[in-house]
């Protein structure tokens, strides 16, 4: 188990390395010049060149990438041997071309908003999705099942930017029950935080609970036909015990897997949700950075997202061995 975990961490780190290399290469072959973009309107060729030197864009790709990797592990010094030298301690992800702020600080500033969205929404969609899926499976074929599954199909077909804007129009603009979505610190202004987060949560959960409802329903119905469920009934267990301890327990495993991966990718930035509701999270940071050709920030957000996805994968695989005794990790 320990050996397996270590091996997965090592291979995960390698994947992160590959991801960063790909991001670097894409930017290198891009026809746009970040130095030109940072230079502004009154720009001279000399100025562009000075910026290129300052941003180390004059170096070959391999050197740039090597310095970037070195920065992560041991830190690095920009413009060494000059008056403008500045040191960036490990783990250094560089400075934003746009704001000149350390990328690490930008990421840490944006993480709480994304974390708030992801955790709140996932609790909501698990609650709604699982309970409606279970009820649907137990009342298969009844009007409750048909209504909830019809609703789920409709919800899964709608998009965040549609549902989000509609909800915002109704609850913020028309009814004025909620403030404009945004982010406040949950520790300083917990009530504001919750009020501002309601719409992003509901919008994300709306879509995802539909998927989880269908997943739970089909998983449970499939399990109900298994021989071991018949055995459980033959023992004289109550239908409640049969459904929860035997059916749901077996149907849970794939749901846990999907949930881990969903949460992982959401932590890397709920891009559309953050964009729709204008919430300063990682996803919004990433989209801004891409449109500004802000290479260090793009690399930072991509690596951060990749880190969450890889971690979620490892956690899910480890959890799988706990949930399913037949799975042995070697």
């Amino acid at each position: 188990m320990l050996k397996y975990t270590l091996r997965r961490i090592v291979s995960g780190t390698l994947v992160l390395g590959i991801v960063s290399a790909i991001v670097f290469s894409i930017f290198y072959i891009l026809p746009a010049d970040p130095a030109r973009l940072a230079c502004g309107k009154s720009c001279t060729p000399e100025l562009v060149q000075r910026i290129q030197v300052a941003l180390e864009l004059d170096q070959p790709l391999a050197v740039q990438y090597g310095r970037f990797i070195k920065g992560i592990f041991v830190g690095r010094t920009y413009l060494a041997n000059t008056d403008a030298a500045r040191t960036c301690s490990a783990p250094c992800l560089g400075y934003s071309y746009q704001t000149d702020l350390p990328v690490r600080q930008l990421l840490m500033d944006r993480l709480p908003a994304t974390l708030s969205i992801a955790v709140g929404a996932s609790i909501l969609w698990l609650l709604i999705g699982l309970s409606s899926g279970i009820i649907s499976a137990l009342r298969r074929g009844t009007w409750i099942d048909r209504t909830s599954q019809g609703f789920a199909l409709a919800a899964a077909s709608l998009q965040i930017y549609f549902v989000g804007l509609i909800l915002q129009f109704i609850f913020v603009d028309k009814l004025a029950w909620l403030p404009m979505p945004g982010y406040s610190s949950p520790f300083e202004y917990p009530l504001d935080w919750a009020k501002q987060m309601v719409l992003p949560w509901v919008t994300l959960a709306f879509l995802l609970s539909a998927i989880y409802s269908r997943l739970t329903r089909s998983g449970m119905i499939e399990t109900m036909g298994e021989d071991f469920v018949r055995t459980a009934r033959a023992k004289g267990l109550s239908s409640r015990d049969v459904n929860i301890k035997h059916v749901l327990r077996a149907a849970m495993t794939p749901i846990v897997t999907v949930f881990g991966l969903d949460l992982g990718s959401l932590l890397g930035g709920a891009v559309i949700t953050e964009y729709v509701f204008n919430i300063p999270g990682l996803g919004k940071l990433a989209t801004e950075a891409v449109s500004n050709l802000d290479l260090p920030v793009v690399t930072g957000t991509v690596l951060f997202a990749a880190f969450f996805i890889i971690t979620a994968n490892i956690v899910v695989d480890l959890l799988y061995s706990v949930l399913d005794p037949k799975v042995r990790l070697t």
């Binding site: 021989d227 071991f228 005794p325």
Partner: protein
């Protein structure tokens, strides 16, 4: 004395999109404590459906069950789910064919046996686990206190079937239904399991219904035989009667199909011609008539009317469902069938 289990006119119908499937048709039989009834038939003849009906496991499904099933004074067909649930596992228990599929993959064997005991007994979890160890020991699993922590996939096929038996017997049921308990096992393990069932029956006086398509198993273990074909019982009597003087052409076919060690190895094996009928389009009259070698003996009666289940002679407990009269059957059996047995 009335029997522990008494089934009267049991019928089970499944409404399907292709029509109504009569899986079991007016079945009647009884089993006393300490006795074994072997139900024999081909796949799809209604054996398993019958056993599920006895346990009341078709309640809440689309199956339409009619008739009477009396278990220890309770009528199962008309009883509600809760009444039957209290009998399940306690008064009547079942061993299923494929033990790997019939055990929950995510729970330990010990947990699953303890669970069966906990449902019907007011004991602590610890006591229930102690019972599980005791039962595993009783069915011959070595080091049971260690093996209770194993998962079903860590057991061998024979051990899994033993664990199933331990689970079924944990509450000392008076009726045990074993649905092809040895089909998936090799012959030596099969013999061990049958012997185990026999020993346990002697010890606890359990009534056993043994569902199988293996006549050899029935001959060895059962007291009575019920022969089923296309959902109907076609012959019913003591093992001695049915195997010594079988009455139905289907029974003759089954018995002559058994390969003999003394037979000529160059001859092809004897088989019953044709295949079992689909339950959606059962042949009219006697369901066996398209495959019967003696269908011409009684004119066109076989294809037109369903024969009644009648005792072979007044006051006999050996029943058969065949249009041929007893004298005709006896002459065919002695001249054409017995020489091949």
């Amino acid at each position: 004395m009335s029997a522990f289990l008494e089934v009267k006119n049991l019928s089970v119908v499944f409404p399907t999109e292709d029509g109504r499937v009569q899986a079991v048709d007016s079945l009647s039989f009884s089993v006393e404590k300490g006795k074994t009834l072997g139900i024999v038939g081909e796949s799809g003849s209604g054996k398993s459906v019958t056993s599920l009906s006895i346990l009341g496991l078709q309640k809440g499904t689309r199956a339409e069950v009619t008739g009477e099933i009396w278990v220890d004074g309770t009528e199962i067909v008309s009883a509600n789910e809760d009444e039957v649930r209290k009998l399940r596992g306690k008064s009547m228990a079942m061993i299923f064919q494929d033990a790997l599929a019939a055990l929950h993959p995510y729970y330990t064997v010990g947990h699953q046996i303890a669970e069966a005991y906990l449902v019907h007994n007011k004991v602590s979890k610890k006591q229930a686990l102690a019972r599980a160890v005791e039962m595993l020991d009783r069915v011959g699993i070595p080091e049971p206190h260690k093996r209770i922590n194993d998962y079903p996939h860590q057991f061998s096929g024979g051990m899994r079937q033993r664990a199933m038996i331990a689970m079924a017997l944990s509450c000392n049921p008076s009726l045990l239904i074993a649905d092809e308990p040895t089909t998936a096992l090799d012959v030596t393990v099969q013999a061990q399991i049958l012997e185990l069932l026999r020993d346990l029956q002697k010890e606890f006086g359990t009534a056993i219904i043994l569902i199988t398509h293996d006549l050899g198993v029935v001959a060895e273990t059962a007291d009575d035989i019920l022969l089923m074909y296309a959902g109907k019982q076609i012959e019913y009597g003591t093992v001695r009667d049915v195997l010594q003087i079988p009455q139905h052409p289907y029974a003759w076919g089954l018995l002559t199909s058994i390969p003999r060690l003394t037979g000529d190895p160059n001859l092809p094996l004897t088989a019953i011609q044709g295949t079992p009928p689909s339950l959606i389009s059962v042949p009219s009259g006697c369901a066996f008539n398209p495959r019967c070698n003696y269908v011409d003996q009684v004119g066109t009666l076989c294809a037109s009317s369903v024969p009644d289940l009648l005792p072979i002679a007044q006051g006999q407990s050996h029943y058969v469902r065949c249009h041929m009269n007893p004298a005709l059957r006896e002459s065919i059996f002695t001249t054409q069938v017995r020489p091949h047995l």
